[in-house]
């Protein structure tokens, strides 16, 4: 059993608005207003902002992946070196190792240079142009 209000709402929805009583009039206004879009002001560059954010997030993710692989590589290399040294009883005091040992500063410089290149690649060189 439908209430008078339910019947009224149904009839207005079906476009059968004839009654002039206060309920019908009020419902008519309510139905008209309910169709109006809520006021939200998205900036004109909204889609660009979203896309730029996505690019930033993707870059961060890619960078994190790089570090994970780098870390994994260093770890595996270290373990391999340690196991090899242990198994072979290798001592780095002859041949090329002895030679390189005399240029410790050069090795430090090389490591710093590689670090600097990495920093420049990550922080200075732009990977994309913001849209």
């Amino acid at each position: 059993m439908k209430t008078p209000d339910e019947k009224l709402q149904e009839s207005i929805e079906q476009g059968m608005f004839e009654s002039s009583d206060l309920d019908s009039q009020a419902y008519h206004i309510v139905f008209g207003a309910a169709k109006k879009e809520p006021l939200v002001h998205l900036s004109p560059q909204f889609s660009n902002k979203v896309i730029n954010q996505i690019i930033e997030i993707e870059e961060k993710r890619a960078s994190q992946k790089d570090f994970i692989w780098l870390g994994l590589g260093v770890f595996v290399l270290t373990i391999t070196a340690l196991v090899t040294i242990f198994l072979t009883g290798f001592k780095p005091d002859s041949g090329a190792f002895k030679f390189v040992g005399n240029y410790g500063g050069l090795l430090v410089f090389a490591a710093l240079l590689i670090g600097l290149f990495h920093w420049v690649e990550k922080k200075v060189l732009p990977r994309h142009r913001p849209i």
Partner: protein, 187 residues
């Protein structure tokens, strides 16, 4: 539906222009939902952005069993509801319907602010005072032209509840407006 699938495939291949197109197609829908549920204007655009970030992130999980717009509206609805919860705004503590209706109609706060506005503006103001779920259902049905079934999918409410909320929302607005029209006539 096939257009949706084609667009999604392009986005998944990394075509950002296609994603821009997806945003353009659905930004009004998202803005309606967020705009109706979140009152703070400063938060609205940020939440809309978060919705599309989530859409991009989860696009691979879209199974094309529903329309893309329904899926995006679901994300927007949940995002807005979560935001409201975080801000600790009451969502569904209305109590008994008759008591709530009485309280809603009797609340004359800010009525004076509306004195100069037209009747539809009054109703829009009253809509903002409605409980969150009523506002959501009303907007999806009247502004976005969604079916009860679609609204049910988005809000995870049974169709009967959707119909009931819609009826109650319109009834509350009618009673509130009637009360205003009655007092206006007496002046």
């Amino acid at each position: 539906m096939t257009e949706d699938v084609a667009l999604i495939s392009k986005v998944l291949e990394g075509d950002m222009e296609s994603f821009r197109q997806l945003i353009k197609q659905h930004e009004r829908l998202v803005a309606h939902m967020v705009g109706r549920l979140v009152k703070n204007a400063e938060d609205q655009e940020e939440i809309c952005q978060d919705v599309f970030l989530k859409v991009y992130d989860k696009l691979r999980e879209f199974n094309a069993r529903s329309k893309l717009s329904t899926w995006i509206a679901t994300i927007a609805y949940r995002h807005a509801i979560n935001h409201i919860r975080k801000k600790q705004i009451a969502i569904s503590e209305y109590g008994e319907w008759e008591d709530f209706k009485e309280r809603f109609i009797a609340n004359d706060n800010l009525e004076e602010e509306l004195a100069e506005k037209d009747l539809e503006e009054h109703v829009l103001f009253y809509i903002d005072q409605l409980p969150v779920h009523y506002r959501a259902v009303l907007t999806m049905y009247h502004v976005d032209g969604m079916s009860y079934q679609e609204i049910g999918k988005i809000t995870a409410m049974p169709e009967g509840t959707v119909k009931n909320y819609l009826f109650r929302a319109r009834n509350l607005l009618k009673e509130k407006l009637k009360k205003y029209l009655g007092t206006e006539e007496l002046r």
